[in-house]
């Protein structure tokens, strides 16, 4: 190692005097940290969601039901049959104008087998229209609801459906019903708003088209379309209420946030509804026992019936055959009461069979910004370490000094040693500053700072080792930088930094475990986020050390061989 100190001092001067190098190696990682840190500072904000509520009272305005009818012509005949007045139109404009003027109550738009489309309208009694809506909602597949004729038309033209029925909003049955939950009455809009508090920031849209436009432009992260009759279906036991959710999946993180938020909200609604329905059923069952209002009918309770039967039995005590029959009634009443009590207890238990309690292994619930810190630190170390190791070493070639140095008394490891020390110092100090910044300035969580620093120190070895190995394959700084970028990017994606390892195919996991950064990330997130102790991460640290020593050894050997 003779001469390492002079070389170290020389390298430091060269880094400080080279603005680009200074920027790339020292300032750039902090910039990244600052930008990402600032971005994640804000996470946990409500997801902007557009709401198209078709389940609301609409005096004016139309409602369009689209779907795969199977036989457009058949539905056309059905309408004709049920109508008081039936008109076939030559064009869409004509049909819509008539609809707007109130000349017809319903419009049917069907795709013709020849590829064109056909419009017809009908004056039709409300009850008949309702019946028809019921029929087609049962018969059509892939139902979609739209607030405007334009949307229905384009859906038909895109081949998503082969028929569309337009009617005045108010003619749709079961519209804008309310549901009783937790002592309050909710319509669809209020349900969404109240149950999605903190998670979603809801803006109202009159049509899906407008909402989708804003989704595309990035103003919204998701669009929720509530179909007409949603609350009505929610209330009935036989039917399943559906909502349509459109998410912008072009950005995975954004999509993840939106989907999680919406799923969470919907499951909360489902839970409440199921609970409420169970409560109603249980209450109903109790009414059978105690008597009272049983879903709208006054009934006499089984207990009272039992008491009455007992009085009868006492009164007919002298007629044993009658008393025996009455006794049967009493027994039945008693059994049923006991069964109802059992059933009610069972139902109450089934309403919410699982009580979910989510806590973090860190012992404190973590925000997105906490979770991102270890990856960020590890990635920036990889970046700086590889570049630093490679550039410092290749500079010797680029400056043509390797030849001269080899002739001096410099020790065989002085060159590699001085690079390792300087690069190590830069990388480690960078991780120290990053960690402290993350914790102090951004309020990120780190359960053990000491262990985190130990991990980063060991990580630095591997990163610089990779850099030295790359340095053996380049003769100029530009080449070294290109190589570093080529190598670092795949490494980043092959570790668990971007996608969770558990979601990767087996061979990717095998590859990931041949990369030191994977262990660095696991150890770092272990000691920072999972509250792991030194004993827990010891083996990972040992692997990191092993990688570090091996890579540095390889790098040093390759670099020395290259200079021969």
């Amino acid at each position: 190692m003779r001469g390492w100190r002079s070389l170290l001092a020389k390298d430091w001067k060269m880094v400080v005097r080279n603005r680009i190098l200074l920027g790339v190696l020292i300032i750039y990682p902090f910039l990244i940290m600052g930008v990402i840190g600032a971005a994640f500072q804000e996470t946990g904000r409500p997801v902007p969601v557009g709401l198209v509520n078709l389940d609301e009272a609409r005096e004016a305005g139309s409602l369009w039901i689209c779907g795969e009818s199977g036989s457009p012509a058949g539905w056309r005949r059905t309408l004709q049959r049920r109508a008081e007045d039936f008109v076939a139109y030559a064009s869409g404009e004509e049909a819509l104008a008539a609809f707007e003027r109130g000349e017809v109550d319903a419009l049917l738009l069907v795709a013709e087998s020849s590829g064109g489309e056909e419009w017809c309208g009908a004056r039709i009694a409300n009850d008949r229209l309702e019946a028809m809506v019921g029929d087609l909602e049962d018969g059509w597949r892939g139902l979609r609801y739209y607030a405007t004729a334009g949307e229905a038309e384009s859906s038909l033209r895109d081949g998503e459906c082969d028929a569309a029925l337009g009617l005045l909003g108010k003619a749709y049955p079961y519209l804008a019903e309310t549901i009783w939950l937790e002592g309050e009455n909710y319509d669809a809009a209020r349900l969404l708003r109240d149950f999605s508090r903190d998670v979603m920031e809801i803006s109202d849209y009159a049509s899906e088209k407008e909402a989708l436009a804003d989704l595309r432009s990035g103003r919204l992260d998701a669009v929720i379309v509530i179909p007409p009759g949603f609350i009505s279906r929610l209330k009935t036991l036989e039917e399943v209420a559906g909502v349509k959710v459109v998410i912008d999946q072009s950005n995975l993180v954004k999509a993840e946030f939106a989907e999680t938020g919406i799923r969470g909200f919907l499951s909360r609604v489902s839970e409440r509804v199921v609970e409420e329905k169970m409560r109603a059923v249980v209450a109903g069952l109790y009414v059978l026992v105690t008597g009272g209002d049983f879903f709208g009918t006054q009934v006499v309770g089984l207990q009272e019936i039992g008491d009455n039967l007992r009085s009868i039995r006492d009164a007919v005590a002298d007629r044993p055959e009658l008393a025996g029959l009455v006794e049967q009634g009493i027994e039945l009443a008693e059994t049923v009461v006991a069964d109802i009590e059992d059933a009610a207890a069972y139902l109450r238990g089934t309403a919410l069979p699982v009580d979910l309690e989510v806590t973090s292994v860190a012992g404190r619930s973590l925000a997105a910004k906490d979770a991102v810190v270890p990856s960020l630190v590890a990635l920036s170390m990889l970046w700086t370490g590889v570049l630093c190791g490679a550039i410092l070493m290749v500079l010797e070639d680029e400056e043509g000094m390797r030849v001269r140095l080899r002739l001096t008394r410099m020790g065989p490891f002085a060159l590699v040693g001085s690079k390792l020390l300087l690069a190590g110092a830069i990388v480690f100090l960078q991780s120290v500053v990053m960690l402290f910044l993350a914790v102090a300035a951004f309020g990120a969580f780190a359960s053990s700072m000491h262990l985190a620093l130990l991990t980063t120190a060991l990580t630095a070895l591997s990163c610089i080792g990779i850099g030295l190995v790359l340095a053996a394959f380049a003769r100029q700084v530009a080449g070294a930088v290109i190589l570093s970028v080529l190598v670092t990017f795949p490494l980043i994606f092959m570790t668990g930094a971007v996608f969770p390892l558990s979601q990767m195919p087996h061979f990717m996991r095998v590859i990931a475990h041949a990369i030191p950064l994977t262990y660095a990330l696991e150890a770092l997130s272990g000691v920072m986020l999972r509250g792991e102790s030194l004993a827990d991460v010891a083996w990972r640290l040992a692997v990191l050390l092993g990688f570090g020593v091996a890579l540095l050894g390889l790098g040093s050997a390759l670099v020395r061989r290259k200079s021969r």
């Binding site: 001469g3 001067k13 060269m14 001269r404 008394r409």
Partner: protein
């Protein structure tokens, strides 16, 4: 040609008193021999210049002799004994000025020299003193605080020279020390090399510049395609390879006579436009005979002393043709 080979042989056989001598040195790169059986010796105190076209193997020869790469065949002797030039003992005796720029551009001249001084094992004060000495020697003292990348090529080359001398080596290898320099900078470097000779150092240098070879080197070797083709003093090389030349013009009717005469006297001639150019080893002795025979009809005549450049170019034409 036979005579020339003898000259080469003779020099090597005397190589026992040489500081460094190469015996059958060869170097192969991926199946291509950049050096083929090079026999060459470097005598103490001389300045040996190796001249040869691009790709001849000059740099490779220096790299082998300074232990940067090991030879594929042959051996290197130092004072009669086989030596591994990569060994520290040998390394301390030699200094190297590589062909390519080699210094830290973002360090100052002083910092560059001081770093090497430290790496050559000089202690703090000693290193500083040696650095000052070399700055003085290379005339860079007043620029010693500027980053070297802002230096002119000439200044950089002077620094490069100084950097090869930090440990006072007795043998200095200079690989094309003046290539790419303007005449002024070139003569400044020559100045320094001549001073090295005065100090009694042995210099091994390569060059493309024949003026330089003639002016600086005490002995020359011509390297072509990895082989030493000629060796000797510049004077000897000139006389071996080329000769003085005479350019003359004469009336047309005498031209046939001239050509006949030249053939009979063994004088090489060719026609360049109107003029005849005559060359030959012993031209000076034969010239009077020609002049007396052709005095009538001789219009004009120029006599030009041969330059090493002429000799080299002619030699190369011979080698290639």
């Amino acid at each position: 040609m036979v005579e020339r080979k003898d000259v080469t042989k003779g020099n090597v056989d005397e190589g026992n008193g040489a500081v460094i001598s190469a015996r059958g040195l060869g170097k192969e790169f991926n199946g291509i021999w950049a050096l083929k059986g090079v026999d060459l010796s470097l005598e103490r105190g001389e300045t040996l210049g190796v001249i040869g076209p691009n790709g001849a193997g000059k740099t490779t020869l220096i790299r082998v002799l300074t232990g940067q790469i090991s030879p594929s065949s042959g051996e290197i002797h130092c004072e009669g004994k086989v030596v591994d030039p990569a060994r520290l003992g040998f390394r301390m005796r030699i200094g190297l000025v590589p062909q390519e720029a080699s210094f830290y551009g973002r360090l100052t001249a002083r910092e560059n020299l001081a770093l090497l001084a430290r790496l050559y094992g000089l202690a703090g004060e000693e290193a500083a003193a040696r650095t000052d000495e070399l700055l003085q020697w290379s005339g860079l003292l007043e620029h010693s605080r500027r980053q070297v990348r802002f230096f002119s090529r000439g200044m950089q080359q002077r620094l490069s020279l100084a950097m090869g001398l930090v440990h006072r080596p007795e043998i200095v290898f200079l690989d094309e020390p003046t290539s790419g320099l303007d005449p002024e900078a070139r003569s400044a470097v020559w100045e320094l090399i001549l001073r090295l000779q005065e100090e009694g150092r042995t210099v091994f240098m390569t060059t493309h510049n024949m003026e330089e070879a003639d002016h600086i080197c005490t002995r020359l070797a011509i390297l072509v395609k990895g082989e030493i083709r000629e060796q000797g003093t510049p004077q000897r090389i000139k006389s071996l390879l080329g000769t003085d030349r005479v350019e003359l013009r004469l009336s047309e009717e005498r031209q046939g006579e001239l050509e006949e005469l030249c053939s009979s006297l063994g004088i090489y001639w060719k026609k360049e436009g109107e003029a005849y150019v005559l060359t030959g080893v012993d031209l000076p002795e034969k010239l009077p005979a020609i002049i007396s025979r052709l005095a009538v009809g001789l219009r004009d005549m120029h006599y030009r002393e041969v330059t090493l450049e002429d000799a080299f170019l002619r030699f190369m034409r011979e080698v290639e043709g």
